[in-house]
């Protein structure tokens, strides 16, 4: 098992800077998730760690070794691809044993390691099948099994659940979490799905335009976002960001605050005359356990509110309440004005 250290890592394709100086520490056995919008560089960063993309500048360490110039196979990493990358002409057994075969591991040991991984992932009955004969979830498990048999120090997952349907994705998510618990390896996981990120990660790395926006535990990112981008990226539905003037009714604001953020689930609906600010329901979306309301505020902005139980109909006037602890204040650059800093 290994820790991972990235120091001012950069990647340039031609004239395009894709990774613009990423510094990150991943502890031994930690489950780290890279999230960010399409094109933010999360997959490129993962491929740089794997060695499939070379490093333009900076330093990459796995354990105590600088691996910038080390071949992919000698870095002690294994990768699970979004497409699974299972060789279609080989059966499950040969797919899982491929890496051991090319490394000339004796057949008996190969067999044993494949069997162990197959048992761990409940693939025993599928070893003689070809990838085309497997379901999406089974293919995903084979891809993970192929990574396991090599006994890597670090597992890399590149959006491994993107091709699965919603139900299977939830199931596989829990299997990956269980696997991490059992194996205890360092795992780096790329996804654009924030629910995956929140549920799996010990630590989330939010990326935008090749830079890290914030690193922290899921709770830290949800409760204390560093800036408007992270505030809106983490959490669903996304955080409401209102001009300070429109949100004045929620209470006193710190000096320098130009925007106020409040999550839809942290707003309460009351009668119009009892609200801190008022508005009118524009759309009411019933989602089963709750309803999502689009409310046009008296100041003109639109605000989302999540309501449990009965929700008001469209065109009804409502009042909104928010607790001060649930408000986030941002300066002109969109950076958070921390509560601790505000008290000083």
């Amino acid at each position: 098992m290994s820790s991972l250290t990235l120091r001012n890592l950069k990647k340039r394709f031609g004239r395009v800077d894709v990774i613009r100086g990423v510094t990150l520490d991943v502890a031994d056995g930690e489950f780290v998730v890279f999230v960010g919008p399409s094109g933010c560089g999360k997959s490129t960063l993962l491929r740089m760690i794997s060695g499939l993309e070379d490093v333009t500048d900076g330093e990459l360490r796995i354990g105590n070794r600088v691996v910038n110039e080390v071949q992919p196979a000698k870095r002690g990493v294994a990768m699970v691809f979004q497409s699974y990358a299972l060789y279609p002409h080989l059966n499950v057994r040969d797919n899982m044993g491929f890496g051991l075969k090319v490394r000339k591991v004796p057949a008996a040991e190969r067999q044993q390691r494949v069997s162990e991984a197959a048992a761990l992932l409940k693939l025993d009955a599928l070893l003689d099948r070809f990838p085309r004969e497997l379901s999406g979830g089974q293919r995903q498990r084979v891809a993970i099994g192929r990574a396991i048999v090599g006994h890597p120090d670090v597992f890399l997952f590149d959006e491994p659940l993107s091709n699965l349907d919603a139900e299977l994705r939830v199931h596989m998510r829990s299997e990956i979490a269980a696997l991490h618990k059992r194996l205890g390896n360092t795992m780096i996981y790329v996804t654009h799905d924030q629910v995956e990120a929140m549920t799996l990660a010990d630590k989330i790395v939010v990326l935008r335009d090749g830079r890290i926006e914030q690193v922290g535990s899921p709770r830290e990112l949800y409760e204390q976002p560093d800036n408007i981008f992270v505030a809106q990226f983490i959490g669903s539905p996304k955080m409401n960001i209102l001009p300070a003037g429109s949100a004045a009714g929620f209470g006193a604001q710190p000096a320098g605050a130009v925007s106020v953020g409040v999550r839809p689930e942290h707003l309460s609906l009351v009668a119009p005359e009892k609200g801190q600010i008022g508005g009118k329901v524009v759309i009411s979306e019933y989602t089963g356990a709750s309803s999502l309301l689009h409310i046009r505020l008296d100041s003109g902005e639109t605000c989302l509110v999540v309501v449990d139980g009965d929700a008001p109909e469209a065109d009804m006037k409502v009042g909104l309440l928010a607790g001060t602890d649930n408000l986030h204040h941002f300066d002109t650059d969109g950076m958070a004005l921390r509560k601790s800093r505000l008290l000083m």
Partner: protein, 300 residues
């Protein structure tokens, strides 16, 4: 709804769809019947007759033409041997060169389109121009090829006048002309292999040779089969190249089946015998194709 709406139509939806389908395929079907099935049936019938194109007299002779070709005509077996030598020389050389070029030119680098064009250009070049240029290049002492060989101290043969070398010359010049087509097919197949396979194999420690042998080559299997079948068929059907470069000579050294059929039918006007030869060629090519397909099926 009115009574008129509820009445079943004269033609059901299924019948109308079937009619439309037949309408769409009818031009192709007509062409296929008139220009392929018709002549094929005619050739089968002609092969059972003795029909001289000049006298216009046709006599039913049963299997005499086949008997004559297979058991009494020594030229026929030399021609079959020449065709097999041509195919054995051409097919592996063409495929190996096509694959090597495709592997080199399936990646992105500056000038790749230029090189692809250079190697594909002979495919669309006129066979006549190609043959004339190569006849000129392969002339005896004065030919460009022998001049170049002389420059490095090798005395080249008279390529198109010596039976063994003439076969080598027609095979190599044919390969250079047609290799671009197979190269393009291989490039298309290589580009269809997901890059993740190579990335996954590389991460697992596979060398370039192991990736080719264990991943790329097996995945090229279906394309290799198609290329092998069409190149083999093409090599048995070769006519223009032989006609233009050697005329089947020297000493019948390059006289191959298709050219021999042409000679029998259009130089000696023995249409019945030529038709029987054509049927034999059809059976040989069909047999080879079936064998190749069976081998492929056994391997997968």
């Amino acid at each position: 709804m009115t009574a008129r709406d509820e009445r079943a139509p004269w033609l059901t939806l299924k019948m109308r769809e079937a009619m439309e389908a037949w309408l769409f395929i009818s031009p192709t079907l007509a062409g296929f019947l008139i220009f392929f099935v018709g002549p094929l049936c005619a050739v089968v019938w002609y092969s059972l007759t003795e029909w001289n194109l000049l006298s216009q007299q046709s006599v039913f002779v049963g299997l005499d033409n086949y008997d004559d070709a297979l058991f009494h005509n020594l030229d026929f077996w030399q021609v079959v041997r020449n065709s097999i030598v041509f195919a054995i020389g051409l097919v592996p050389l063409n495929m190996a060169l096509a694959l090597a070029l495709a592997l080199a030119l399936s990646r992105r680098f500056a000038g790749v389109v230029f090189f692809r064009t250079v190697f594909f250009a002979p495919v669309v070049t006129s066979a006549v121009a190609w043959a004339i240029v190569w006849k000129f290049l392969l002339q005896g002492e004065a030919g460009f090829v022998n001049q170049m060989l002389a420059g490095i101290g090798i005395h080249g043969p008279n390529w198109l006048r010596e039976p063994d070398w003439a076969m080598v010359a027609v095979i190599v010049t044919r390969v250079i002309k047609m290799v671009g087509l197979n190269m393009i097919l291989y490039i298309a197949a290589l580009q269809a292999i997901p890059r993740d396979y190579e990335a996954a194999a590389r991460l697992e420690g596979a060398s370039n040779w192991q990736i080719f042998r264990m991943i790329t080559w097996p995945l090229l299997g279906p394309t290799t089969l198609v290329i092998m079948v069409i190149t083999t068929i093409g090599s048995f059907k070769v006519f223009d190249h032989i006609y233009l470069m050697t005329g089947g000579g020297p000493e019948n050294g390059t006289l191959v089946l298709a050219f021999y059929i042409y000679q029998q039918g259009f130089q000696f006007f023995d249409v019945g015998y030529a038709s029987a030869l054509a049927m034999i060629m059809f059976v040989i090519v069909m047999g080879l194709t079936v064998v190749q397909l069976a081998l492929r099926r056994r391997d997968t």
